[in-house]
């Protein structure tokens, strides 16, 4: 693995230069001739019957091209459980329910038209507390399921239940047991570029759909199903990505506004764009779901974990998107963070009239990690063991198979914990209870793909042009993480070209091979693996060409020299040095014999071989092109929620030093160290960027962020009231890269997109306890909560 020329280097993001010059084309800039602008009318109630909708005035407004309601489009169900329609015509079940939509020649006119739509509602009793909603006599959010069968409860028919070993027996045998509750809030992903899409049908009713999705083929499938259901069977669909202004989970599902856009385009026969305002982004886009956990853990005298029992209740909101599937990832820390033999986990998703939820960076892991990692500190204290030591005692080891069936391959958790201990000066600062304190938390996350669909694969196509450019067609997407640079480095390494030779096209279903999506921290790992394999094929093809062409070129050049200088005596050359591709190497654009790397005659610049050998001759000729579809050897979770669903797992530890102002309850983070197992950093600067960025979102999760929902309505739908940290909230973050190359990773790399977020909030909570002795188990940890807890303790 040594002697890597491009992997491991801080290659600049030159491929994305348009982002610093203002020329990048986001959905905001994506325009088509004759394009109209769509706007959506949302419900005025959390739960109500629609008595009438009158669109006549809106239709008459000059510049309006279409006004549609649920009565104007086929009544087709969409969504993960098919529990909603695109436009609601009988009942609205949440404030963001889409009731009508307008297409007009400008966004302003569309907005004005919305105000002219008259909707009469009859309010219905609404239910906002999932605990209330679970009660047998609770009013139902949905009377029937997707197929019209009556529902008897608000509890979703999603059996999130996991059990390994014997928890009850283990509890009895434990020396120490702790149990506590935690709650976590809704979190908005806060992409700086708001949601949007452009739908355009051609005269054959084939659809070109420009969208920010990070799962272009998944989106295509969902749209194909929808089109089929509304009577447009067999139409061709091309999904394209513009440059995407952040994703963080929002681009995983196909949202309702996207179907609305498609409907408006169909109705008007014009390209239609919908782009959310910031307020819509807060109020009408599904956030990370709110959750409650009860966690119980035990250990023996020596501090070895004996069991872990977790019950979770997720507020599903009125409909179902990916949020309801996050228990599949909550499973990760609950079953497999540290060695714990007996585990039970149950998650209940409950319909309410709140906003519904979807994915966000970490996908359930941050919520579960908050429960597990605060419980670890509580238990360590009860057992009288230092929390860092307690984690080391129970740490995972390479070769472990966890109760969930995860096969741990590489695992530098011990190094992560010890690094954090050292950098945060753990032993010196811990346990003072003087207003300052330190805390830590660790994580496990999928880092080698995640088999949530039947395929977790990615296809890559590479072609090399006669001018020495390497074109790559990827079925994946980029949301800003830097894939154009990282994948170029991998391909340069594998092919023997340079990163600047590589030109990658992302996000186009018409060009790329299938890809499961840029999610689950899987892109570098899975696409990288495909890229290495395709790159090696390319290299092989070029070396095969070289075997034919180097001798030709050398002989020709010798002849020329002889011609010029009749005294020239051509050397005796040993052509067996280059008579097989196996005997050749291609690196940094130079082809040379392995046995004689600096051979004065055989060492050849790759461009010469390409010009000499590519696309020449009549009849069948040579092209250098390869494609690889690679799917990691993993399993889908079975009915018991067991299975090795990722090829490898990433570990990491965050350590935090805080200062608590005991009079105001304010928490100041003096230092955050985030040490992460990345396998190998393909580009250390970019890896750090992922860790910093995720850690900052994690700090927001810990201290300041929450979507405030009052009686079903989002009341803080702007950046002044939704508190993302600013640059002034200077939090010294140190990102530490721990390298332990994973045999399955591309050049040893693991996924690192999500992990940085996961352990931050619990590390903060644990540090606050160390500083002032109060536990805040309800995120975010606001000054109010800290001060109230201090007062309750009489401090």
């Amino acid at each position: 693995m040594e002697n890597l020329l491009h992997v491991g280097k801080n290659v600049p993001r030159t491929a994305e230069i348009d982002k610093v010059t203002g020329h990048a084309v986001y959905i905001d800039e994506y325009k088509r001739p004759g394009m109209l602008y769509g706007k959506i009318l949302y419900s005025q109630y959390a739960h109500a019957r629609i008595k009438s909708i009158n669109t006549e005035k809106a239709k008459k407004l000059p510049g309006v091209r279409a006004v549609i309601t649920g009565y104007d489009i086929p009544d087709v169900r969409v969504g993960f459980l098919g529990d909603q329609t695109v436009l609601k015509r009988d009942i609205v079940r949440q404030f963001r329910d889409e009731v009508a939509a307008v297409a007009a020649i400008t966004p302003e006119i569309a907005e004005d038209a919305l105000k002219l739509i008259e909707v009469e509602y009859e309010p219905l009793p609404a239910i906002f507390d999932p605990i209330e909603a679970m009660k047998p006599d609770a009013a139902l959010v949905h009377e029937t399921d997707a197929r019209g069968r009556p529902l008897r409860s608000n509890i979703l028919p999603l059996p999130w239940k996991f059990s390994a070993g014997d928890v009850d027996k283990a509890r009895e045998e434990s020396t120490y047991v702790v149990k506590h509750d935690v709650t976590t809030p809704w979190i908005n992903q806060c992409c700086m570029g708001t949601s949007g899409c452009v739908a355009e049908f051609d005269s054959n009713n084939n659809l070109t759909y420009c969208a920010q999705t990070n799962v272009i083929f998944g989106a295509k499938q969902r749209i194909a199903t929808y089109l089929r259901n509304i009577g447009l069977k067999g139409k061709k669909i091309r999904v394209l990505n513009p440059v995407v202004g952040g994703s963080f989970g929002t681009k995983l599902d196909t949202d309702i506004y996207e179907f609305i856009c498609i409907q408006l385009a169909l109705k008007t026969r014009k390209p239609v764009k919908i782009r959310f305002t910031r307020e819509e982004e807060f109020a009408a886009l599904p956030p990370r779901q709110a959750s409650r956990f009860t966690i119980e853990q035990g250990c023996d005298k020596e501090g070895k974990l004996t069991f872990r029992k977790v019950d979770a209740i997720l507020d599903n909101g009125a409909y179902t998107s990916w949020g309801a599937t996050t228990p599949s990832v909550m499973m990760l820390p609950i079953s497999s963070m540290y060695r714990v033999p007996n585990v039970s986990f149950q998650a209940t998703c409950v319909y309410t009239n709140n906003i519904y939820s979807q994915a966000m960076r970490g996908y359930g892991n941050p919520q579960a990690a908050f429960a597990v990692e605060t419980s670890m500190d509580l238990l360590a204290e009860k057992a009288g063991i230092d929390p860092a030591e307690f984690r080391l005692i129970n740490r995972n080891h390479p070769g472990d198979v966890t109760p969930m069936g995860l096969k741990i391959t590489t695992c530098p958790l011990e190094e992560c914990i010890n690094t954090v201990k050292e950098k945060i000066k753990w032993d010196e600062k811990r346990g003072k209870k003087n207003g300052r304190g330190v805390g830590m938390a660790s994580l496990i996350h999928v880092a080698g793909g995640a088999r949530v669909y039947l395929s977790d694969g990615t296809g890559i196509r590479i072609k090399v042009n006669e001018d020495g450019e390497v074109d790559v067609l990827s079925g994946s997407t980029d949301q800003g993480q830097g894939s154009p640079t990282v994948i170029a480095q991998i391909i340069a390494e594998a092919t023997g070209f340079r990163p600047e030779d590589v030109n990658i096209v992302f996000g186009d279903t018409a060009l790329g091979l299938w890809d499961a999506g840029t999610h689950a921290s899987r892109h570098t790992f899975v696409a990288g693996n495909a890229a290495v394999r395709a790159g090696e094929l390319i290299k092989r093809q070029i070396l095969e060409l070289a075997v034919q062409h180097i001798p030709k070129l050398v002989k020709r050049s010798l002849k020329q020299q002889q011609k010029k200088n009749p005294d020239f005596v051509p050397p005796e050359l040993d052509y067996t040095l280059i008579d097989s591709p196996d005997k050749l190497e291609l690196k940094d654009r130079m082809i040379y014999p392995r046995e004689a790397p600096d051979h004065p005659y055989f060492k050849t610049e790759v461009g010469k071989i390409l010009t000499s050998g590519l696309h020449v001759g009549v009849g069948e000729s040579k092209a250098v092109a390869a494609e690889v579809f690679w799917d990691p050897p993993t399993q889908m979770l079975n009915a018991e929620m067991k299975g090795n669903y990722s090829c490898t797992y990433a570990f990491g530890t965050a350590g935090v030093e805080v200062e608590v102002d005991k009079q105001t309850g304010e928490v100041k983070i003096l230092k955050l160290v985030s040490a992460h197992d990345v396998g190998r950093a393909i580009n250390p600067t970019l890896v750090k960027g992922q860790i910093y960025g995720a850690a900052y979102i994690g700090i927001g999760y810990g201290l300041t962020e929450r979507v405030q929902v009052v009686d079903g309505k989002v009341v803080n739908a702007n950046f002044r009231d939704y508190k993302i940290l600013t640059a002034n909230d200077n939090i010294p973050v140190e990102a530490v890269i721990i390298e332990d190359p994973d045999p399955a990773g591309p050049y040893g790399a693991k996924g690192i997109g999500e992990p940085g977020l996961v352990p931050t909030a619990p590390a903060i909570a644990n540090a606050i306890y160390d500083a002032v002795g109060v536990w805040i188990k309800d995120l975010p940890i606001t000054p109010e909560k800290v001060l109230a807890a201090l007062k309750a303790q009489g401090q």
Binding site: F719, N728, D729
Partner: protein
Amino acid sequence: MKAYDYHKPHTVKEAIDIMGGLENAKYIAGGTDVMVLLRQGKINPANLVSLRNVAEISRIDTQNGIRIGAGVTHTQIANNEFIREHYSALADGAGVVGSKQIRNVATIGGNICNAAPSADTACPLLVLDAEAVIAGKSGERQVPVDDFIVGPSQVALEKGELVTGFVIPAFGDRTGSAYIKHARRLAMDLPILGIAVRATVKIGGAQAACRDAFKLTDVSDIVKRLEAEGLVLEDVRVAMSVVAPRPVRARKAEEAAKGKTISEKVLEELGEIAASESKPRDSFRGEAWYRRDMVKVLTKRALLKSIERMTGASSMVAPSRLW
């Protein structure tokens, strides 16, 4: 958004004249409140009369106290050395409005005339006994800021009148002031609570001894030392924001402070009294009990910070100590 016409007078007189001839018109200065309200459809004027090009209200004059034009931006105030030194609370307040970009255009006149309960320069102006200078068709008049701010978005302006500036008296070198914005973030945030204090003191012992007191790290040690030096609170102002429909003075606390030698007990009492004068409400932005509690804590801190500044012990930058 409805269409509107945009007028750009260059003098106060011109502005008043234009305004006088228009229906449904509104002044706009930096526009950081007006443009937001327009976008949200909360106001629908047919005319905007811009004060941005009126040079005479964009100046800072430092004779006999200070006169700050209504059109002076928060950036100009926060960077003004004279204000930083003599009217520190105002520099504090202007320096924490919104963000750099907001401060670059937003004006003090707009901040006060918009009259938000959370306006960051309001409490500083209240404790500095500032008066608003108002110009109208019938000439100029001067009104204490305390009377000028009436309620949320309500000020004592007659039709067509505008504020040309604020005058603040000189306080001499035994006065210090401070404003503490208690917010969840350090930028781009509305305060959960804002507290401004001005303290004019009499020092029994040596000024140098008081200055040295601030070298101590423990707050109660500092107070004891000041007490030992016989530091008397001659005249104190306290103002609080977000605890009532408009920024208000804590007059009972001010009264109680008069003539008292500083001590932990006195500080404690002042905080308690100020808190009893506050009438905060629960909102999604913050809880009432917490705001009231913070009045206690921050009144003390702002008072100590004022005294610290008076002694010249620290630079304008708030020390990392708890105030």
